[in-house]
C-alpha cells in the first residue's frame, strides 16, 4: 500500500469500532521486526463509559485513529486488577481486567477489532512478583504449611542474599520485609508490597505459564515482560540474569512457539546491550528486548551537538541472532535518567547506568518528549528521524505524536500519564465525565493545553507534527531496510553530523544513507562513501535526486537539526 492509498484520517471524536477493516493481519512470524509499537495507558487513553477513567472499550473506539497513524502494534500498560500502588505493576489477579478498565470480554473485543485493522496487541505481564493483595500471597502468608506456602520466597531472617542490591533504595531499606502474620520475612526486589514469586516452585512456573496461555488464547499477540531479570535468587550471586531465569524464559518461548504462532515476547531488561543480548538466547528466548541505553544517548547527542553518544553505544551493541529485534524508544511511561545532559550525569551514565535498572524512578526526570526538547519542533522531528531509522522496532508513547506536554506537579510518574488530548472540547475529549471525576486532570497550561494540542487540531492542520509523523511512518513502512537492514556508521569530518547507512539484509546493493545534523546551526560535512561510488542518492520523502557520488568524500549541507534519508540507487 502506498502512502496515497491509506485511508483518510478519521474524525478524532468518532468511530464506534464497527468501521471496515482496511489492512488484514498478515500471517507473519517475524512481524515484530518491522513493526512500529504504540505504548498506551488504558486508563489515560479514552473513557467510553463516562466514569472518568480510560478503558479498553475506549481504545476500541480510537483504533481507526491508530490505524491511520500507521502503527502496527499496541502495547497496553497493565490493566489487571491492582491496588495501584505501582501503576498496576502490582497485580492482584492475573485472570481479570480491573473493573474501571473493563472486562475480559472487552479485552477480547479490543484484540479482535485491532486485528481487523491490521494492528496487533501486546500487554504488560508482570511475572517477577505480585501485589501483596494477590490471593496467592494472602494464602501464602496465612501459615507456613498452606498449599501456597512456598509460592513466595520466605526466610526466617533477613540476612540471606544480603549482598543483593536494593533497587528502590530510596523507599526500601532491605529486600526482605517481615510479615507479622506468618512471622517470617519475604523477599521482594522492588517495593515491599510486591513480594517476589518463588520460581524454584514448579507450581509457580506452571501458574505463570497458565496465565500466559490464558491471554494468548484470548488473542493477545504477546507480552512485554516486566522485570524479567530477577526471577531467581542464588547464594553468592547478584540474583540477576541467572541461568535459571533464562531457562524459564526459554521454556515460556518454547510453549509459545509450539502452540501460539506469530506471538512476541518483549523483555524489559534495563542493562547494557552486551548483557541484554543473553535474553535473546540463540533465538530461542525473547523475540525482542528494549535497548535502554540508546534512548538517553539520542537526547545527549542532540544536547551535546555531537554524534559520539550515539555512535559509541552503536559500537557496543552486538549483532542479534536471526529473528530477534531491539525495541527502541524516545520516551515511555517511566522516567529515564536524562540529567546526563550535564557533564556529571553523562559520566554517571557511563559508569553507573547499567548497575541499577530501576534507578530511573529515583533519578529520572518526569517529562514527556516535547517539554524535554523545549517544544522545539525541529528537535522533535530529528529525534523521531533517528528513532525511525536506527536499528530496532520503534516504540512510540501515546500523545507524543501530538507533542503533548506533561504536568510535573502531579507527582511520581503521573505527570507523563495525563489523559490523551483528542479534541478542544471538555476534558480534551478524553471523557464526558465531570472534571472532578477524571483519573488525572488533562493539561491546561498555556502551551500544551488540550484546547490547542489535540488530535482533532493535528488532523486538521496538514503541517502538524501529527501529519509529519504519519508520513514518516508510511515512508518507513515502504522501506523495510530500516527495520531489518544492517547498519554501518560512516566517517564524517564534522562532529555534529551523524551519518550511517542502513544496508540491505539480503546482501544486495540497496542501501539508505541517513545523515543528521545534531547542531542548532547549519552544518556541512564530508562523508566517506567510497563503497557507493557512482550511485545517485534519492531523498526518500520528496524523491529528489542528489548529486552522484563520484568521490571518496561526499559533501552534504544540512540546516539546523536537519536530516536526510537518501536511498542509494545504483545507476552505473
Amino acid at each position: 500500500m502506498t502512502v496515497d492509498e491509506r485511508p483518510a484520517p478519521p474524525e478524532a471524536s468518532a468511530t464506534d469500532g464497527r468501521l471496515p477493516a482496511w489492512r488484514p493481519l498478515e500471517d507473519d512470524p517475524h512481524w515484530y521486526e518491522r513493526a512500529v509499537f504504540y505504548e498506551l495507558l488504558p486508563r489515560g487513553f479514552y473513557d467510553s463509559n463516562r466514569d472518568g477513567v480510560g478503558d479498553l472499550r475506549g481504545i476500541v473506539e480510537k483504533l481507526d485513529y491508530l490505524a491511520w497513524l500507521g502503527i502496527d502494534c499496541i502495547w497496553l500498560l497493565p490493566f489487571y486488577p491492582s491496588p495501584l500502588r505501582d501503576g498496576g505493576y502490582d497485580v492482584a489477579d492475573y485472570w481479570s481486567v480491573a473493573p474501571d478498565c473493563g472486562t475480559v470480554e472487552d479485552a477480547a473485543v479490543l484484540v479482535e477489532q485491532a486485528h481487523r485493522r491490521g494492528i496487533r496487541v501486546i500487554a504488560d505481564l508482570v511475572i517477577n512478583h505480585t501485589s501483596d493483595q494477590h490471593p496467592w500471597f494472602v494464602e501464602s502468608r496465612s501459615s507456613r504449611d498452606n498449599p501456597k506456602a512456598d509460592w513466595y520466597v520466605w526466610g526466617d531472617d533477613d540476612q540471606r542474599w544480603s549482598d543483593v542490591r536494593v533497587i528502590f533504595c530510596d523507599a526500601e531499606p532491605s529486600n526482605w520485609t517481615f510479615d507479622p502474620v506468618r512471622q517470617q520475612f519475604y523477599w521482594h526486589r522492588f517495593f515491599h508490597h510486591q513480594p517476589d514469586l518463588n520460581y524454584e516452585n514448579p507450581d509457580v512456573r506452571e501458574a505463570i505459564l497458565s496465565v500466559v496461555r490464558f491471554w494468548l488464547d484470548l488473542g493477545l499477540d504477546g507480552f512485554r515482560l516486566d522485570a524479567a531479570a530477577y526471577l531467581y535468587q542464588k547464594d553468592g550471586t547478584s540474583g540477576e540474569n541467572l541461568p535459571e531465569t533464562h531457562d524459564f524464559l526459554r521454556q515460556m518461548r518454547a510453549e509459545i512457539d509450539r502452540d501460539y504462532p506469530n506471538r512476541v515476547l518483549l523483555a524489559e531488561v534495563n542493562q547494557w546491550p552486551a548483557d541484554v543480548v543473553d535474553y535473546f538466547g540463540d533465538g530461542d528466548e525473547c523475540h525482542m528486548c528494549f535497548h535502554f541505553p540508546l534512548m538517553p544517548r539520542m537526547f545527549m547527542a542532540v544536547r551535546r551537538e555531537q554524534r559520539f553518544p550515539i555512535t559509541e553505544i552503536l559500537a557496543q551493541t552486538p549483532s542479534l541472532p536471526a529473528g530477534c529485534q531491539w525495541g527502541i524508544f524516545l520516551r515511555n511511561h517511566d522516567e529515564l535518567t536524562l540529567e546526563m545532559v550535564t557533564d556529571e550525569e553523562r559520566d554517571y551514565m557511563y559508569a553507573e547506568y547499567a548497575r541499577d535498572p530501576r534507578m530511573r524512578r529515583n533519578l529520572g526526570i518526569r517529562r514527556r518528549l516535547a517539554p524535554l526538547v523545549e517544544n522545539d519542533r525541529g528537535v522533535a522531528e530529528l529525534l523521531h528521524a533517528l528513532l525511525l531509522s536506527l536499528p530496532g522496532s520503534p516504540v512510540l508513547y501515546y500523545g507524543d505524536e501530538l507533542l503533548m506536554g506533561d504536568n510535573i506537579y502531579l507527582g511520581d510518574r503521573d505527570g507523563v500519564r495525563t489523559p490523551m488530548q483528542w479534541t478542544p472540547d471538555r476534558n480534551g475529549g478524553f471523557s464526558r465525565a465531570d472534571f472532578a471525576q477524571l483519573v488525572l486532570p488533562p493539561l491546561m497550561d498555556p502551551v500544551y493545553c488540550y484546547q490547542a494540542v489535540n488530535v482533532e487540531a493535528g488532523l486538521r492542520d496538514q503541517s502538524s507534527f501529527l501529519h509529519w509523523l504519519q508520513r514518516m511512518l508510511a515512508v518507513r513502512r515502504q522501506h523495510p531496510i530500516f527495520a531489518t537492514g544492517g547498519i554501518e556508521v560512516l566517517p564524517a569530518d564534522n562532529p555534529s553530523v551523524l551519518a550511517y547507512v542502513r544496508t540491505s539484509p539480503d546482501g544486495d546493493e540497496r542501501a539508505v544513507l541517513c545523515v543528521s545534523n545534531l547542531s542548532r546551526f547549519a552544518q556541512a560535512a564530508e562523508i566517506s562513501l567510497a563503497r557507493w561510488r557512482d550511485t545517485v542518492p534519492v531523498e526518500l520523502i520528496g524523491r529528489a535526486q542528489f548529486p552522484r557520488i563520484d568521490e571518496d568524500a561526499y559533501h552534504v549541507t544540512l540546516g539546523p537539526h536537519g536530516f536526510y534519508w537518501l536511498e542509494l540507487e545504483v545507476r552505473r
Binding site: 544536547r303 551535546r304 551537538e305 555531537q306 559520539f308 555512535t311 559509541e312 552503536l314 559500537a315 550535564t342 557533564d343 553523562r346 559520566d347 556508521v489 560512516l490 566517517p491 564524517a492 569530518d493 564534522n494 562532529p495 555534529s496 547542531s519 542548532r520 546551526f521 566517506s528 567510497a530 563503497r531 571518496d552
Partner: protein, 442 residues
C-alpha cells in the same frame, strides 16, 4: 648487491623513477651528485602480477621502492590515470612486462598487506590516504592503516618503537599496531588499526566554542514585555555558568582526555622508566615577572616534585582523536588523520615533567579560542572574550581533574596542588611566548 635474475634492468628504471619523485628530492636535494644505486631487490610475489621490493641508495640515504609488474595491456588498465607510477618496460622470462610503483595497484597493495601481516589480514578495498616524504599511507577496508616507509632509517624508528612498547604494556588509547615489517635492521612498514570515524580533538574543541559563542553572542533584541534576559545578557553576567550550560560543552570530553593523558604518562614511565623530578625539571616554567615560581620552587623538596618521564613531546589537540572507543593519542609520527609530515613531528625521546605535556594541551585550548574569537564580529568581542576565557578555564580544569583523578597519576606531579597550578601557568606562558615568536617570524 642482490638482484633477483628476473629483475635485471630494474635498477636503472627505478633510479630514473626516483629522480622524478618530489619526496626523493626532499631528502637528497636537487643538486646533481652520485648516482642512485640499487642495493637489493627481492621478489615478494613471482608471476603476474609480480611484486618486488627494491632498496636503492644514494649517499647515506636509503630508499624503499615496491615495484609491480604486469603485461602491458593489463598494467595500463590497472594504472588507469595513474601513469606517473610507471617505471618502464622490462623483459622477464622472455615476456615483456611493464614495471610500476606497486602502491598504485590495488591488488598488489593487498598482496603487500598479506605479506606484512604474515597472512593474518586480507582486504577487499584499498584507499591511498596521503603521500608524504617519509612514507606512503594506505587504508584497507576502512579498518587497517599501513604506513609503508619510502625513506629507510637504520635501527628502530622511535615512533614504531614507542608504539610497540606502549602496546606491550597494554596502553590501548592509540591506534593499535597490528603488524610490523622489519628486515636487516630497518623498519619497512607498520600496519595499525584504523578508526575512520575518529575526529581530531581540535575539531571537537573548536565546534564546542564556536557554538557557545554563536549561542551566547546573539544580539540582545529587547522586547516591550517582561521576559527572561537574553543569552548575551546572561553570558555577560555569568560566563562560567553559561559555558557549563552550553549544549556543546566540552568539559566531559576534556576530563576523559585528562585521564587518557595520565594513562599515557604512566605507560611511558613503565616502558622507559622514570626518575624523581628536581627543581631543574621546571626551569622552563620559571621566568614570571614576580619571581613567584622561582621562590616556590626554592622550597620544593625533591621527593615532592613528582617524576620525570619520557614525554609525548608534541601534545596538543591535533595529536589526539576522539573515537567511538574514547580518546586516542596520535602523533607518534604516524597519524593517519593528520596530513602533516611525520618526519619532524614527534618523539624525540625528550624527558621532562608530565606537566609539560599538560601545559601543551592547555595552550592548545587557548589556540583554539583565538581561532574561534577571530570569527566573531568586533562588537561581540567583549562578551566573546569573557566566554572564551571561561571556556578555557572550564576545560583546563576538567582536563587536569581527569588527569589527577586517574589511579596512580598523582605521583607523577608535584605534591602541592598550588605549585602545580603555578608551574602549569609558567610552562603555559613559556609555550605562548614561543608561539608568539614563531608566529611573528612566520
Amino acid at each position: 648487491m642482490i638482484v633477483a635474475p628476473e629483475l635485471g634492468g630494474i635498477g636503472s628504471l627505478a633510479a630514473a623513477y626516483l629522480e622524478r619523485q618530489a619526496w626523493y628530492h626532499a631528502v637528497v636535494g636537487h643538486e646533481g651528485g652520485e648516482d642512485v644505486a640499487l642495493l637489493s631487490a627481492e621478489v615478494l610475489r613471482p608471476g603476474s602480477p609480480g611484486l618486488a621490493r627494491l632498496v636503492l641508495g644514494r649517499g647515506g640515504s636509503r630508499f624503499q621502492l615496491l615495484v609491480g609488474s604486469r603485461p602491458p595491456a593489463e598494467a595500463a588498465e590497472v594504472l588507469g590515470s595513474r601513469e606517473a607510477a610507471l617505471l618502464g618496460q622490462l623483459t622477464v622470462a622472455g615476456a615483456t612486462v611493464l614495471a610500476y610503483d606497486a602502491l598504485a595497484d590495488d591488488e598488489l597493495c593487498v598482496e603487500l598487506l598479506v605479506h606484512v601481516t604474515g597472512g593474518s589480514q586480507r582486504a577487499s578495498m584499498v584507499r591511498r590516504v596521503s603521500t608524504l616524504v617519509s612514507h606512503a599511507s594506505l587504508v584497507f577496508d576502512e579498518r587497517l592503516f599501513m604506513k609503508c616507509y619510502r625513506v629507510l632509517e637504520p635501527g628502530a624508528r622511535p615512533e614504531v618503537e614507542v608504539m610497540l612498547r606502549l602496546d606491550e604494556v597494554g596502553f590501548n588509547a592509540m591506534l593499535a599496531p597490528v603488524a610490523h615489517w622489519r628486515e636487516d635492521g630497518y623498519d619497512l612498514a607498520l600496519v595499525r588499526e584504523f578508526q575512520p570515524s575518529a575526529l581530531e580533538g581540535r575539531l571537537l574543541a573548536f565546534t564546542s566554542l564556536r557554538d557557545l559563542l554563536a549561542h551566547a553572542c546573539a544580539p540582545d533584541d529587547s522586547q516591550p514585555v517582561e521576559r527572561a534576559p537574553s543569552e548575551a545578557a546572561r553570558a555577560r553576567a555569568d560566563p562560567d555558568a553559561e559555558t557549563a550550560a552550553a549544549g556543546g560543552d566540552l568539559a566531559a570530553e576534556m576530563r576523559r582526555l585528562g585521564s587518557t593523558t595520565a594513562r599515557l604518562h604512566l605507560a611511558l614511565a613503565e616502558v622507559f622508566g622514570d626518575v624523581p623530578a628536581t627543581r631543574e625539571t621546571f626551569a622552563a616554567a620559571v621566568g614570571d615577572e614576580t619571581g613567584r615560581v622561582e621562590r616556590e620552587l626554592a622550597g620544593l623538596r625533591d621527593d615532592a616534585a613528582g617524576r620525570v618521564v619520557r614525554l609525548h613531546g608534541d601534545y596538543h589537540l591535533r595529536r589526539v582523536m576522539r573515537s567511538e572507543a574514547g580518546w586516542l593519542v596520535a602523533g607518534f609520527g604516524d597519524d593517519p588523520l593528520n596530513g602533516t609530515d611525520a618526519a619532524g613531528s614527534s618523539l624525540t625521546g625528550r624527558r621532562g615533567s608530565p606537566l609539560e605535556d599538560i601545559a601543551d594541551m592547555c595552550a592548545s585550548l587557548k589556540m583554539v579560542a583565538r581561532e574561534a574569537l577571530a570569527q566573531r564580529a568586533p562588537e561581540e568581542a567583549e562578551t566573546a572574550t569573557h566566554l572564551a576565557d571561561a571556556w578555557i578555564r572550564r576545560n583546563e580544569t576538567a582536563f587536569l581533574d581527569g588527569y589527577v583523578g586517574t589511579d596512580g597519576a598523582s605521583r607523577l606531579l608535584p605534591d602541592d596542588p598550588a605549585l602545580v597550578g603555578l608551574l602549569l601557568a609558567g610552562f603555559g606562558r613559556e609555550r605562548m611566548l614561543r608561539y608568539e615568536a614563531t608566529s611573528s617570524e612566520a
